[in-house]
Symmetry: C2
Subunit: 262 residues, 2 copies
């Protein structure tokens, strides 16, 4: 008879005081780490694991749930549990806001995606006037009303980033910035045309687990954190002219920065 997929797994150590579901998770994790199950492979079904280990269904499910929390596997109802495929990663370079990149026609996201052969999309574009949260208001130097631009970025149909840009209303109202499509080079190009020459950006980075709502927006598998990035753009007079609040699927990004030694 052909080897079943549980042939790749060992036996439990009944003398160990490590919980059975942890031992099962350990064995599956090791098999994944060593490549005996590759990315996208199906793990043995719950029934097979129950037979192999002689454990109850809840114990087996507990083990799998542990691996889900670690981001190692994803389950698909009616199909099985699979080793989580690693999506292509988008690298944000430290010079990504250099002026020369704005002087092309397309947006940075589009250019970059096409360079690596991915299909870029932007949806959920909502532009409207709002009263900012306390935090955003402070970052914008005390703005009372702001223009908020919300959008979601997708690569090959997969959402990877959700971003909201806030600009002081007195600066953005009745300009191309308030249009759904602000034109070539994006809002930073428009800001400069309006006389707000950009000097530098400050970024703050945090990582955490998503709320259920955020997980839904980014279609995140369980066990995938988000990177929360808040960027403030300053003009040459030191005034903040934009705050961008961004939530990124952590498994889709690497952020790169350069730091001076002086």
């Amino acid at each position: 008879m052909p080897p079943r997929s549980t042939g790749l797994l060992g036996a439990l150590d009944s003398t160990s005081d490590r919980a059975v579901f942890r031992q099962i998770a350990d064995q599956l994790r090791e098999a994944i780490d060593k490549g005996r199950f590759a990315e996208g492979d199906k793990l043995p079904s719950e029934t097979e694991l129950i037979d192999h280990y002689g454990a109850s269904r809840m114990t087996v499910r507990n083990a799998i749930s542990l691996l889900q929390g670690e981001g190692l596997v994803v389950s698909e109802h009616g199909k099985g549990v699979f080793v989580r495929p690693r999506p292509p990663v988008r690298r944000l370079a430290s010079d990504r806001f250099a002026r020369r990149h704005r002087e092309q026609g397309k947006s940075a996201f589009t250019v970059e995606a096409e360079a690596v052969g991915s299909r870029p999309e932007v949806d959920d574009l909502v532009v409207r006037e709002e009263r900012p949260s306390q935090d955003i208001a402070t970052r914008l130097g005390g703005a009372r009303k702001v223009l908020a631009r919300r959008r979601r970025y997708l690569l090959d149909g997969r959402p990877v980033e959700f971003a909201v840009s806030y600009l002081p209303l007195n600066l953005a109202r009745n300009t191309p910035i308030a249009e759904p499509n602000p034109g070539p080079g994006g809002i930073y190009a428009r800001l400069e045309e309006l006389g707000h020459r950009l000097d530098h950006f400050e970024e703050e980075i945090r990582a955490r687990m998503p709320s259920p709502e955020e997980a839904k927006t980014l279609r995140l598998a369980s066990g995938v954190p988000v990177i929360h990035l808040i960027r403030t753009a300053y003009d040459t007079e030191g005034r903040p002219v934009e705050v961008c609040d961004t939530l990124m699927a952590a498994d889709a990004y690497v952020l790169a920065y350069q730091l001076p030694a002086t």
Copy 2:
């Protein structure tokens, strides 16, 4: 009779097709978000939730496990389930490697911790020669052997960061860099004294869930991701002189960077 802690919770919607354990989790989450349970507060016990909702124990535990995965609560055996306290956050500023900060006596970590009234500790200091991984070797320009400095940083007894520095062996051997305590200003100060004037650093940032081993080293609650930071230091001749591979408890850090607009 006095209000029990479940008095803060509503009833289930039996007409909803949302799973019972999700509804229970939703109610607890909302109560936490709205501050009806504050940081560090104890949630109703499993028994109380079972009585309140008329659900079975597994259903209630399933709900709590959902909240654990979101990083909202932590359970303590024999005590209860608590709203996860937010630890003080360590902010890494964009000028943290400026030369002027090295010219003091103490390490950056120590100075910074004492400034915010925390007690800094460094343990697990292991310094030894190693053969680098392919990735580290590449980053160091093809080094065959390296000096590896491992250490764990703690604030008020809580581990927050685990870091390994790699330096080309031919550069670090028989220097203070190979000592457990490299002296005031740390290894960057020593590198400069040895004639390797530092020019800039490059950092790469990722976020993900920790492996069980990493979670143990950093004593992470479930639902807390890690920030994985890889820094390469370059001297004025453009040569990489150090790679530092760092794992940080994501709930203990905010990283700040400055980006040029030009």
